[in-house]
C-alpha cells in the first residue's frame, strides 16, 4: 500500500486525466468490438492485431516522411478494405456458426497477422514521433502529452461520427436492423451479407484509427495485440452489448480505476485489480438478474 497519492493530491488530477485519456482510446477499440459482436455474434480475438496493423500503417507513413498524425485518416481507409477482405475470405464462413468456431477462426487470423507483421516490419519495437509537445497544468505539476489529448479527441470524433452515421444513414439502419433480427431483416430486403461485410470493415477501420493513435502515443510490436483484445473485451463485458455510450463510460472508468490502483496498490497489481473489478461486476450482475428472475416468478 502506498499513500503518496493522498499526500500529494495533485497526483489525483494527473491519475484521473491519464486514466480518462487512456480509457477513451480503449473505448474506441471496444466500440468496434461491441458493434460486430452485436451484429454478427462474433468475438474477434484478432481485434488487437488489427489495431497493431493499423499502427504499422501509420508507422510506414512516418518512415516515408509523412506526419504519422495523418495515419488517423489513411489507416482506417486501408483497414476498412482489409476488414472487408477478411470477411469475404474467412468470417463469412463462420458467421452463422457456433461462437466457439468464430473464436477459433479469429484466433487463427490473429496468429497469421502477427507472423505477417513480423515478416514485413520485423520484430523490433518501434515508435512514430508526432512532436506534438506537452500541455502543462497547475504550474507544471500536471503534465499531459499532447499526443494523448490528440488521441482522445480523435477517438471521440470518430465515435460521434459513427453514432450519427448509424442513426441516419441507410447502411446504419440496415446494420441496426440486422443486429435486432437478422432473419427478419433479410425477409424485408436487407442484404445481410453486405451488412456483415460492412460491419466487419467498419470495425477494422476503427481498429485502424486506434492503431494510428497508438503508434504516436505508445509503442508498436507485432506481438502486442493480445492485451488490446483482452482490454476491449473487458470493456464490452462491463458495458454490455448494444449500449454505445456505456462503452465510452466503461472505457474511461476502467482507465481511471487502473491508474488509481497503480498509485495505491502498486504497479504490479494494476492489471490484476482490473480483473478483480470485472469479477465483482459479473457477480453483481448475476445477483441482480437472479433477484429479477425471482420477482418474475
Amino acid at each position: 500500500m502506498d499513500f503518496l497519492i493522498f499526500q500529494a493530491p495533485i497526483l489525483m488530477v494527473q491519475a484521473s486525466l491519464d486514466g480518462i485519456l487512456l480509457g477513451i482510446l480503449f473505448a474506441l477499440i471496444a466500440y468496434g468490438m461491441a458493434l460486430q459482436w452485436g451484429v454478427m455474434n462474433i468475438i474477434n480475438i484478432a481485434q488487437g492485431d488489427l489495431v497493431i496493423l493499423g499502427g504499422y500503417i501509420a508507422y510506414s507513413m512516418y518512415l516515408a516522411g509523412i506526419h504519422p498524425g495523418w495515419g488517423v485518416i489513411v489507416s482506417p481507409i486501408v483497414m476498412f478494405f482489409v476488414g472487408w477482405g477478411l470477411y469475404k475470405l474467412v468470417i463469412n464462413k463462420v458467421v452463422d456458426r457456433d461462437l466457439f468456431i468464430s473464436i477459433l477462426a479469429t484466433f487463427g487470423i490473429a496468429i497469421v497477422f502477427q507472423q505477417l507483421m513480423n515478416f514485413i516490419f520485423g520484430a523490433d519495437v518501434v515508435v512514430a514521433q508526432s512532436e506534438y509537445g506537452t500541455t502543462m497544468l497547475f504550474d507544471n505539476s500536471v503534465t499531459l502529452p499532447n499526443s494523448k489529448i490528440f488521441s482522445a479527441f480523435i477517438s471521440l470524433l470518430y465515435a460521434v461520427v459513427l453514432v450519427i452515421y448509424m442513426k441516419k444513414s441507410k447502411l446504419g439502419r440496415a446494420i441496426r436492423a440486422t443486429a435486432q433480427n437478422a432473419r427478419a431483416a433479410k425477409i424485408l430486403g436487407v442484404d445481410t451479407e453486405k451488412v456483415y461485410a460492412a460491419t466487419f470493415g467498419i470495425n477494422a477501420a476503427l481498429c485502424g484509427v486506434a492503431g494510428a493513435l497508438i503508434a504516436i502515443t505508445f509503442t508498436l510490436h507485432p506481438y502486442v495485440g493480445l492485451p488490446y483484445t483482452v482490454r476491449s473485451f473487458m470493456i464490452v463485458i462491463v458495458a454490455g452489448l448494444g449500449n454505445l455510450p456505456a462503452v465510452a463510460v466503461s472505457g474511461m472508468g476502467l482507465g481511471v480505476f487502473e491508474e488509481f490502483a497503480d498509485y495505491i496498490l502498486g504497479t504490479e497489481f494494476r492489471i490484476g485489480s482490473v480483473f478483480m473489478l470485472l469479477v465483482f461486476i459479473l457477480v453483481y450482475r448475476r445477483f441482480k438478474l437472479s433477484r429479477k428472475r425471482e420477482y418474475l416468478k
Binding site: 503518496l4 500529494a8 495533485i10 497526483l11 494527473q14 491519475a15 491519464d18 487512456l22 507472423q115 513480423n118 520485423g122 520484430a123 523490433d124 519495437v125 518501434v126 515508435v127 514521433q129 506537452t134 502543462m136 507544471n140 505539476s141 503534465t143 499531459l144 502529452p145 499532447n146 499526443s147 494523448k148 497508438i214 505508445f218 509503442t219 510490436h221 507485432p222 506481438y223 502486442v224 493480445l226 492485451p227 491508474e259 497503480d262 498509485y263 502498486g266 504497479t267 504490479e268 494494476r270 492489471i271
Partner: protein, 413 residues
Amino acid sequence: MNKIAKLFITFISALTLTLASITSSFAKVEGEYIVLGSAISLTGKYSSNGVHTQNGYNMAVDRINKMGGVKVGGKSYKFEIIYYDDESNPKRAAQLAERLIKQDGVHYMLGPYSSGLTKAIAPVTEKYKIPMVEANGASRSLFTKGYKYLFAVLSPANQYLEVAIDLAVEKNGGKPVKIAQAFEQDAFSQDVRLGILDAAKRTGSKIIIDDKLPKELNDMAATLAKVKATKPDVLVVSGHTKGALTAIRQISEMKVDVPMLAMTHCDAAKLSKQHGKKSEYALCASQWHKNLSYKDSFFGSGKKYDKDFKKEFGYAPPYQSAESSAALLVFKDAFERANSFDRDKVRDALKTTEMQTFYGNIKFGPGGQNVAKPMILFQVRCKGDTCENKVVAPTKWASDKFFHPIPKWSERG
C-alpha cells in the same frame, strides 16, 4: 490417385530418407567437421535478436575455419553448426535441444537467444551431459542451479546496472542517494533489480519507488508521475526494448526532470536513432562496445570486428552478435586444450578457460557465469541531430566524460 501423384510421393519419400541419413551422418565429429547444435529464434518475437546471434555464430565459424580451424590430436578440424528455428518459444526450444542431441547426435551446443529460452534448454543439455556455451542468457538464476555443463560468456544480469548506482553515489559526493526504479516482471529485469537492491544496501542508498511493470504494459505514466512528485537522484528502468522506448517517450512528453537516468536495452532498442535528442543523457548498460581495448588473434580488436561485421552483414554489430562470436572462440580454445573430443574432457577444459577475446576477458565462475569481464556503461550524447552512444564507465575505456546532472527539460532545446 493417378500415376504421377504416386511417383511424386515416392520421389519425395526417397528424398526425405536420403536427407535423413545425411543429417545423421553429420553427427558430433565427422570427417573434418566438429558439429555444434543450436536452437535459435529465427521467427517470433525474438527473431531480430535471434538473427543477430546467428550472424555472430556464423561470422566466428567462418573466421576460425579460414584461419586453420581447430587443432585436436595433431589434426585440423572445422566447425559446423546445425540450426533449428525455435520460434521464440521455450517449449519448442527444449524439444529442439532433445532433437539435436538424440536424433542429430550433436555433442556440443551453442546457446539460444534470451534468458528464458536458455533456461528451457539448460536442463536438457545437463541431462545428456552436453557442454553448452551460451552467449545470450544473462539471468542470474541460470548460474545458481548448479549446472555443470553450462558456460556463459556474458556478465550476469544483476551486474548490469550496479555500476550506475556507484556512479550516482560518487556524483553525490559519496553520500547515499534516493533511487526510483521500475522493472518489468520477467526473469531478466527482476535480476537487474536484485543487483540494484544489492548496490543500494552496499551504499546505504534508499529506494523510494519500486514499481514492477506488467509485461503487457505500454504505459508508465503513473510511475513517472510518482517520480516527478518524489524527486529521486536516479531513475532506473529495465523492461527490454519496449520498456526503454516507452520510458524515453513518456519521460520526454511528461517533462520528468531527474538528474540521472539508467536503463538497459538502449542499443537493442536503437534508442538514439528512434528517439533522437529526447534520449540524450540516458545511461545504458551494455555487455560490449567496439571501443573497448580487448584483443585476440582472430578478430583483432572490437573496432576491427565492427568493420568486418558491417562488411559481411551490412549493419553494425550489436553486442548480441559480438558475444555470440566470442562463444565460438571459447569452444575452439577448450577443444584445443582438451586435445580430445571426449565431452567430459571438453567440459573440464571449458571450466578452466582463461582467455582474452575481442569481446572481453573470459573466465568461468563456479556457476558457469563469466566473472572476468565488467559491464560497461555508455551515455547517449548528441551533436546536432545525430546521437551516439559514448562509453563513460569504467574509466579505463571511457571515451567521454559522464555528463551529470541531466539538464532540466525547460533548459533543453
